[in-house]
Symmetry: C2
Subunit: 506 residues, 2 copies
Amino acid sequence: MKRPFEAKCIDLSTAGIRVVIINREDAHDLDLKAMDRVALTLDGGKPLSCIVDLTDTFVSPGTLGLFREIYDPLNIRTGDRVYIEPMGKPDSVMYIKKKMDGGRHTPEEIDAIIGDLMKEELSDVELTAWISSVYIRGLDKDETIALTKSIVGSGTTLALHEKRIFDKHCIGGVAGNRTTMLVVPIIAATGMTMPKTSSRAITSPAGTADTMEVLAPVTLNKDDIEAVVNRVGACIVWGGAVNLAAADDKLIRLRHPLSLDPRGMLLASIMAKKKAVGATDVIIDIPVGKGAKIKTTNDATMLAKQFNALGASLGMNIHSLLTNGEHPIGLAVGPTMEARETLRILSNENVSPELIEKSAQLAGVLLEIGGKAPVGKGRDAAMRILHSGKANEKFRQIVEHQGGDSEIRADDVPIGEHQHTVTADASGRIEYIDNRGISAVVRNAGAPADKVAGMYLHAEEGDRIRKGQPLFTIYAKSERKIDQALEAYEKRRPIRMAKIILKTLS
Amino acid sequence: MKRPFEAKCIDLSTAGIRVVIINREDAHDLDLKAMDRVALTLDGGKPLSCIVDLTDTFVSPGTLGLFREIYDPLNIRTGDRVYIEPMGKPDSVMYIKKKMDGGRHTPEEIDAIIGDLMKEELSDVELTAWISSVYIRGLDKDETIALTKSIVGSGTTLALHEKRIFDKHCIGGVAGNRTTMLVVPIIAATGMTMPKTSSRAITSPAGTADTMEVLAPVTLNKDDIEAVVNRVGACIVWGGAVNLAAADDKLIRLRHPLSLDPRGMLLASIMAKKKAVGATDVIIDIPVGKGAKIKTTNDATMLAKQFNALGASLGMNIHSLLTNGEHPIGLAVGPTMEARETLRILSNENVSPELIEKSAQLAGVLLEIGGKAPVGKGRDAAMRILHSGKANEKFRQIVEHQGGDSEIRADDVPIGEHQHTVTADASGRIEYIDNRGISAVVRNAGAPADKVAGMYLHAEEGDRIRKGQPLFTIYAKSERKIDQALEAYEKRRPIRMAKIILKTLS
């Protein structure tokens, strides 16, 4: 039975979820509890499912509070007569309960959950219960395949001219690891196609999208990306702007508060984004080490196998590479610092040698897969392309077509006006540089929100240092931010030295 | 670092949780994500922790949206200058993650979670993750004991004169099972103390609190309850009004959407309420059968053992009784119908014989425990007290002291003006009456919200019925409600007959 109410529109949005506020007395009459569902209709219109929230005071009996997610699409104004009718839960709630109870999802069940998620039919509580269950119970291979396909179906997919599409992904966690901006132009310089979508930083001081944004716009839509890639063979854009895995973005909002990274969801999230750009051949960089996300070679090998198997099921060739993730790769950390370093390397300046070496090795694998270099010769071929200036030329084409200044030089890129150099307080050998600690310092300097915040390391792991020699310089837009970064440095002490004099007895 | 904002007060409450709305640009600058925490201060005041929600439009940069949970206690007005500072998560979030990962909670961890729940420091997403983990991972005996103690600590506890306090609990699910309103006066008539707190209906057509409310107020506070019990030895009140297990009520709101009843939480919830009234001796009625909550004797035995063990750990004597929960116990269903039936039974009218028998048996166990009847003679002693009129007298004292009319007679209790009697459409024996089906019919007639909605069964399971003989009468406050109930009846057909002619071939 439908029941009439007077609408009260509240100029507030509720994170996508459609919530109606009903007085506790009306709820009692209608036998509704908080988080129950109702079908809401305007005269003669199509019913819209909404989730109930209760109030004692905000709306009086007979009045229904509506948020923007509801009154906007239905064009309801305060004072309008609307109707609600209690309704059952969608089937997907039953499937969530099934996973809680240890059941295995069919592909149809996963489609129903992702479909209802996209239609905003599921509440945060229901979705959190699902994410928690998936975290605890896990997803097997078939469930992961189904989830990947559902996520691909929830978002945009690219339509490119080339049949063979190359891609790379890094599961992250290593400071200064800006290989993408070197690998993409090396590969594309040979005529291979590489439509690279990257993320912004979540826990690090800079994501590839943040760094590229220093040099060119990265929030391109589907049509723009297709145009750029069809023209110059590659792009380096922010994936978030093109909605490649729409369902995934919605899940991440709820995974964040408890840092829940259920393995099946992590795999599906990454592979869906690759599938959505039409990738046929993908290398996956898995940094391993105590400062990285994956701590042991065993764990990394298991993850690599899961990536490869999932890729095969989805018709993609996956090459997972375990890489050394113990310490920062590049010497520059932070969006503008890394953008400068990229331009320097492309111009053949001899900086961040380890970043150059890693980029050449990753690009080398892709060149071998793409038939552009004989097996075992990929790294050298990549290095030649870099040194020839062809990668630089290709990178500047990409920058130009994305709308940036193709003539920009490293020194043109602004960096933090306030700077502070920390020197070694003892002589010795640098034994260990802790990625996470470096990230914490640079984030405290203001990155990634302040693009000009960053750090330049003057020494690498293994270097011998004398007391008073510079260790690193911090850049920030204010003295306060410098102080904050130094405070984080003192707390974390991410650069550890193997001291020569261990103890002095006197 | 604190950052100043202009407050914008939104006249809306957010289910207890303290939420601040911040513009996405400010959030980016402060490196805040949705559901992160901030400390909010008014000039010089104590910081209040709040959970962040993001908006693109509702508040502009520099403005902070505040809901009633925040601006009311801090006395903030729109336009006031307030400060926020990002803050970490409480330790309890780490403990929740530990349970997700299969860990075992220490008592301190459970105290921290329940404490933060009570202080509204945990978001719905975090609490749902905890409930889901407890549902999947379980709580062992020590964790359940700790949870029970934490829940007791979160609410009100009664202080009564008597040292020995008796109580009963039914885990529910059986229609017309209104034993409490008979057991309490029988017990209290012997001088035993029984401060009975009951719940309102959740899925049934009437809870004891709903039924008692027909005859007397049931929303008494701690002082009133203590006064009534110290005076007449017993009460029958709504537990929800006195906040005996405050934390539990908050958890139930989140358990409802997925009907999550983690065993450990169920046990802790029930036992905390008994402990909070100071109970020393408790009988627990566990109805078993396909129409009840617990389907098999094995499951019921396991649950009984868990109750007994938990009780022992908390210093209570628990007597768990497995009872027949296959079919409705009383003939009257719905608040006013059951209230009438109670008054009739107390006045020695011969109605609902099975309800009388079950009440006498339950009361008998308590009389034996309390030393008021020799072992094996409790049931007969209870029956004698009922027949003597002493239980009636005690019941009317309770009604009077709770503020009701002690002279009320069954026929004075109003029932639904609209009535409809359903007759048997074939002759035969009533093979099965389905509890859940009967509940559905009576709820569709309007119970428990409409107190006058109900049903009276004219026949019990096993009775032989002739075609055309009345099966039951429905009562409701409108013809529309009668129709709705009949619709539910046709759909569920809860009264199943073993027909004599199984099939006609012609």
